[in-house]
């Protein structure tokens, strides 16, 4: 177990160095987050111009939701599939499986290290900056729609979303064993499936009722819709507990599938040369 702790600390250190080595990219990431938030605030402000609230959501709550999507995207976009695909393509995976820690665990801890680094380097500074930006642009205080208890529960739900996304990506990444390391089509398919029904751009309350019903049976609402609905108080009490439980169940399901796929895939490892 001590090995695992040491590995995770190392993964966080590597992730911090990787995240900050290209200064211009760090600036571009920040500029991108600010500009995206700016566009989202302008977009929703226009749509809410003629209504104090839509589906019980005020403009301020919608702006908090939109900024939340920008922040969550930072931690949910950890490229697990690409890393796995690259290792399978290059053959480095043969080296990785000889480590004392099981390879799927190292993949998860690498991703966790990346997430921890991103939270400190990007999410927290962005949250402060975008919070201030929203106050300037709306000339009000959107953040007052968030209570401390709902914020804390949303953080727990956000952490579950990271777990959900990680295991989901691991399943697709491991499929690279069957596709000669080529994953582009599969990755885009996965992203598109999640983009529509996760609430990443349009919250699910704005969907037609039948579509909300379909989305409720899918795991993707646990990525954006659940944590952000909890954050703005749209989901609370028993509903929030139910949604958190569903997130946890989907994590277990994806974990089991990821493990089963890995076991089958590991039999396909071939090593050429020496």
């Amino acid at each position: 177990m001590a090995d695992w702790g040491r590995y995770l600390r190392g993964a966080i250190r590597v992730a911090i160095k990787n995240s900050t080595i290209f200064r211009a990219n760090v600036v571009s990431q920040l500029t991108g987050a600010v500009f995206t938030a700016f566009l989202l605030i302008a977009f929703w402000s226009t749509l809410f111009r003629d209504a104090a609230s839509v589906e019980g959501i005020s403009l301020n709550a919608m702006i908090v939701y939109a900024i939340g999507t920008v922040l969550l995207t930072v931690v949910l976009n950890v490229p697990i599939e690409e890393e796995l695909g690259a290792k399978i393509r290059s053959g480095d995976v043969a080296l990785s499986v000889t480590r004392p820690i099981p390879y799927p665990a190292t993949v998860f801890m690498d991703a966790l290290g990346e997430v921890v680094a991103r939270v400190f380097i990007r999410v927290i500074p962005y949250a402060l900056l975008l919070g201030a930006l929203s106050m300037v642009l709306t000339r009000s205080s959107p953040l007052t729609t968030v209570s401390i208890p709902s914020f804390l529960v949303a953080v727990v739900s956000g952490a579950l979303a990271v777990g959900l996304s990680s295991f989901y990506q691991m399943i697709f990444g491991t499929l690279a064993f069957w596709t000669a390391g080529q994953l582009y089509g599969l990755v885009v398919a996965r992203r598109e499936l999640a983009r529509l029904t996760s609430g990443a751009f349009v919250p699910l309350w704005f969907f037609p009722e039948w579509a909300q019903g379909v989305a409720a049976y899918l795991p993707f609402q646990g990525l954006f819709h659940v944590p952000l609905s909890i954050l703005i108080g749209k989901l609370d009490g028993a509903q929030a507990v139910r949604s958190l439980s569903l997130q946890a169940i989907w994590i277990l399901v994806f974990f089991a599938i990821a493990l089963a796929v890995w076991r089958r895939a590991s039999r396909r490892i071939e090593v050429q040369g020496g």
């Binding site: 990219n25 302008a42 226009t46 749509l47 089509g185 598109e192």
Partner: protein, 279 residues
């Protein structure tokens, strides 16, 4: 095989795309999924636009079909760029992986070879879906597509491909200085998603940025305003759409200059290839 290097540019382009096709067909599963994802992507974006328009019917004075027209013009441009001249889109990744050195030693010129290898003309078949959507939106928006309108639509689509190609070339050229520019590339993709909606809904400041600084407005918004002869709901002026070919020519020239300038100060980045995540 020996004759390919000495043959004409068109033969070289065909040869490179044939090799690219074979390489992508290494995994049938991945290739088939790529075809499915084209339809999935269109479906997702159209569904999102539909949901927004159902809940908020007034979208800056643009009807549902008109917004559909905006999206389909942008999508056709995007699909044709990646099908025939995908080089600028791939440039940033090629630089980051340290693969540009291979292109620099080619007698054909790096950008031409990159365009040949990164293009996928066979995707024209999957592009038929978005062309059909564009045709439906044109019809439902009440545009009479006579010879003159068809010619101006074709000119605007070609100009749109040139504009998008140039924007990606600027981003790829930035990689010649900064090596890792994935955030810029992601931002450009994000901006295109917002450009599926009328620019006037974002207000004057954002509208000005998307007209002047990152002129995606000239890919679909202003050309659509011209085709629709739209007066209300047009930021600045609908006549800006007539400048689309000029804007595209200026952007192509300036992005090629930026690329050449970047090449002069470029030092191989192969030392960083492979070990870094792109996000």
């Amino acid at each position: 095989m020996a004759s390919v290097g000495a043959s004409g540019p068109f033969r070289f382009y065909l040869h490179a795309t044939r090799l690219s096709f074979k390489s992508r067909m290494t995994s049938r599963l991945n290739a088939l999924t790529q075809i499915a994802t084209v339809l999935l992507k269109e479906g997702t974006q159209i569904s999102l636009i539909y949901i927004v328009l159902q809940r908020f019917p007034s979208l800056g004075g643009w009807s549902a079909w008109e917004v559909g027209l905006l999206y389909s013009i942008l999508s056709v441009v995007r699909r044709f760029m990646t099908a025939f001249v995908g080089g600028s889109w791939a440039l940033a990744r090629v630089v980051f992986r340290g693969e540009l050195d291979d292109y620099l030693v080619s007698p054909r010129g790096p950008l031409f070879v990159l365009n040949s290898r990164a293009s996928a003309p066979w995707r024209v078949l999957t592009n038929l879906s978005i062309i059909a959507i564009l045709a439906i939106c044109i019809r439902q928006s009440g545009i009479v597509l006579d010879v003159r309108a068809a010619a101006s639509l074709a000119a605007m689509l070609i100009s749109g491909v040139a504009i998008l190609y140039s924007l990606y070339l600027f981003v790829g050229s930035a990689a010649l200085w900064a090596v890792q520019v994935s955030a810029l590339r992601d931002l450009l993709s994000e901006i295109q998603e917002f450009a599926s909606y009328p620019l006037n809904i974002y207000g004057t400041v954002v509208g000005a940025i998307l007209t002047v600084l990152v002129p995606v407005g000239f890919i679909n918004y202003y050309p659509a305003a011209v085709l629709l002869a739209k007066v209300d709901g047009v930021l600045f002026s609908q006549h800006l759409g007539l400048l689309t070919p000029l804007v595209s020519a200026l952007l192509v020239a300036s992005s090629l200059l930026a690329f050449r300038f970047g090449l002069r100060r470029y030092a191989s980045a192969s030392v960083v290839g492979g070990g870094h995540s792109e996000n």
